[in-house]
Amino acid sequence: MELDTVLMSRLLTAMTLGFHIIFATLGVGVPLMISIAELIGIKKNDPHYRLLARRWTRGFVITVAVGVVTGTAIGLQLSLVWPNFMQVAGNVISLPLFMEVFAFFFEAIFLGIYLYTWDRFNNQYIHWVFSLPIIIGGGFSAVFITTVNAFMNTPDGFTTENGTFAAVNPIAAMLNPATPTKVFHVLTSAYLTCAAILAAITAFMILKKKTTDYHKKALKLTLTLTFIFAVLTAIAGDSSAKFLAVHQPEKLAAAEWHFETEEGADLLLFGWLNDAHEAVGEIRIPNFLSFLAYGDFNAEVTGLEETPEDKWPPLWVHYMFDLMVTIGFLLPGVALLYFILSKLKKRNEHNKGMLSLIVLSGPLAMLAIEFGWIYAEEGRQPWIIRGYMTVEEAATSSPYIGLMFVLFLALYIVLGTLCVVTLRKLFRDNPAEEELEKHYPSFEKDDES
């Protein structure tokens, strides 16, 4: 009974966050893409790019709406489902949560302005400037919430007295050791994912219909951005691993099935564990774990043996980590392949195979976000605040949590379905070609190829 409420609380939170994070990631990254497209459009005086910005924005408002309502849900659920956690941690981490609200506020106000003022100013830069607060607001929401999550992993900025937190320093709590790498990785991966998804949508359009200039420009832009942010994401991921090696070694060890502390540790990919906790069927890259953890092939990497077994994170996080990293290498690979093909005169970079790969990389990027979060959150188990409070201690005692889980599941199914249906209908009813004529009638018609 007791455990059941805890399990249901975990499932409810995992489900809400897993759903919110999709829309939150779009909320962080898409405004940057929109802004870049609009800026290029104004600079080059090219209506194609401005139309791109307009159409992305139109889809974006729909996902924002879902992001806002699911975010409101998770915000309230933190208190409803984890009352003991909020009662204790609220003393230390309410500052970033509070500041996050201001970031939303800022974002919401300027999103309203941006949406309804496309043709209101003679100087087009004025409209473009309104996109900046949206990027900043979305970005800072991510930064602030990530500091909260970082705090849960490496709590800092307080002392304890008889089991309660005393002498709180809110700034130190925000700037805990996990914050820098986490913020860096969360931001870059959000930008990467949005670029990859927009590229995937464009490639999908090209596959389905004819290739127009509009779509080709969109594809080139989004793939360029995918490549840049994929490289940054990998750098950030690498620094996250280096952070873990020092501050949260059991999380990295669980991801790598690294049981014994040793020098020159190998990196394991996939495989499975036998009963004696030995990896079977894995791909083994010699000494690479030491390199990932410390940038030195012979460094000593702490193993799980140094953590009491009842405090081990679940070992299946290995797969989450591997899948994320694999996708992390695939994404820049796909983008690179496209640019190589486009440089080779004889090859057509818009062939079916290439486009299908690009279409695939969009969903893959979003999956990497999900895998990454599941890894990060499960890898912290059994703690909710590492070293201070376990998940079990934090959960609600209310017996109705199971029922709430079912209600929210139904809600997310409905929201998710309607969101996709609405988006598809929106773009099917307004093809880009028609819209180009409507908004920019003087622009010469697309030359088709």
Binding site: P83, L95, G112, S397
Partner: protein
């Protein structure tokens, strides 16, 4: 003023802000739906969507601000209210989620659907009803703590006249505030057919609004004597509230100065809401938590107040810009932009 007092004061102001902007939003949803089924939608729905489209997200943030702020300043509230409100709170979240997203699907998507309109209208009344449960709980008597387990007494809640009178009050207030605002907005837009209709709504809902307020007050006197008596000590605030109510009704009836009418309705609710809130002091949840024993650490309190001031410096100019562009830009209001 101590940081706890600043905290509760600021939060109460924001809750009041939410009360006004959300009432406008919720009520407008209901009126839009009502107009659709009575085939009057061509008269007012254009007006409603022009105002609501740019601001609905901002309304939501007021609410987020309040609940994040109260847990921040008074973490103890998370423990009691969080546990007790799991069910009503979750229902409110689901309704809010349906409302917000369906609004976007209908408005930004290309589909016009009566089902969406219905959900949008119905949630407009159900959300205030479910949120008002929190106010009822704060009066005490519905939450018990046994062996460290907090639980909500559902039977008592559902059979309490106080809780139903607060639900009724919240719904009619939403309709009254919203109709008064729309009257003002229509008059600014010089949209006379719409003005005629929404003014009718406003006049219609004024009487139930004051009756519901008095009823709730009477039931409060039976349920929580202490709160009732401290509110009576603030008789002048309640008196002013009633005075502004009469001014609003008179202005609406006269059919002039709709801007003044809306200001007057805001003042009516300022005095009622603050009279209620100050009378509640020092309890956040009678009898478990007070403003003082539940407050966060001083350093956090100061940090929050500082963040708040910084945030305001950022937000006020932005909000002014938003209002200039949409609410007070005569051409926009009239639909020319």
């Amino acid at each position: 003023m101590s940081y706890e007092m600043i905290g509760i004061f600021v939060l109460w102001i924001f809750l009041y802000g939410y009360l006004i902007v959300a009432s406008i939003d919720f009520g407008a949803g209901f009126f839009a739906f009502y107009a659709r089924i009575t085939r009057q939608d061509h008269v007012i729905n254009q007006l409603i969507s022009r105002y609501l489209s740019p601001v609905w997200e901002v309304t939501n943030v007021f609410f987020v601000f309040f609940f994040v702020g109260i847990v921040g300043f008074f973490p103890e509230t998370a423990y009691y209210y969080g546990t007790a409100l799991l069910v009503p709170g979750s229902i409110a979240i689901i309704l809010l989620a349906i409302r917000g997203s369906f609004y976007a699907f209908e408005n930004y998507g290309s589909k016009q659907s009566t089902v969406y309109m219905f959900l949008y209208g119905a949630t407009g009344l159900l959300i205030p009803a479910s949120l008002s449960v929190a106010l009822t709980l704060s009066e005490g008597g519905f939450i018990v703590e046994e062996n460290g387990v907090v639980s909500l007494q559902y039977l008592e809640l559902f059979t309490s006249p106080l809780s139903w009178s607060i639900v009724a009050l919240s719904i009619v207030s939403v309709l009254f505030i919203s109709a008064t605002f729309l009257t003002f907005y229509a008059s600014r837009a010089k949209d006379y057919p719409a003005l005629k209709l929404v003014r009718k709504f406003a006049l219609f809902w004024s009487t139930p609004a004051i009756i519901a307020a008095l009823t709730a007050f009477i039931f409060l006197s039976q349920h929580n004597r202490g709160h009732y008596e401290s509110m009576l000590d603030l008789w002048w605030m309640l008196g002013l509230s009633v005075g502004f109510f009469m001014t609003t009704a008179w202005l609406l009836y006269q059919g002039k100065y709709y801007g003044m009418a809306f200001i007057s309705v805001m003042l009516q609710y300022v005095f009622a809401f603050f009279g209620y809130g100050i009378g509640h002091y020092p309890y956040l949840l009678d009898p478990f938590i007070t403003v003082y024993d539940s407050a966060t650490h001083e350093s956090m309190g100061i940090a929050l107040v500082t963040a708040f001031i910084g945030g305001l410096l950022l937000l006020i100019p932005s909000l002014i810009l938003l209002m200039k562009l949409f609410l007070f830009d005569a051409d926009y209001v009239k639909g020319k932009k």
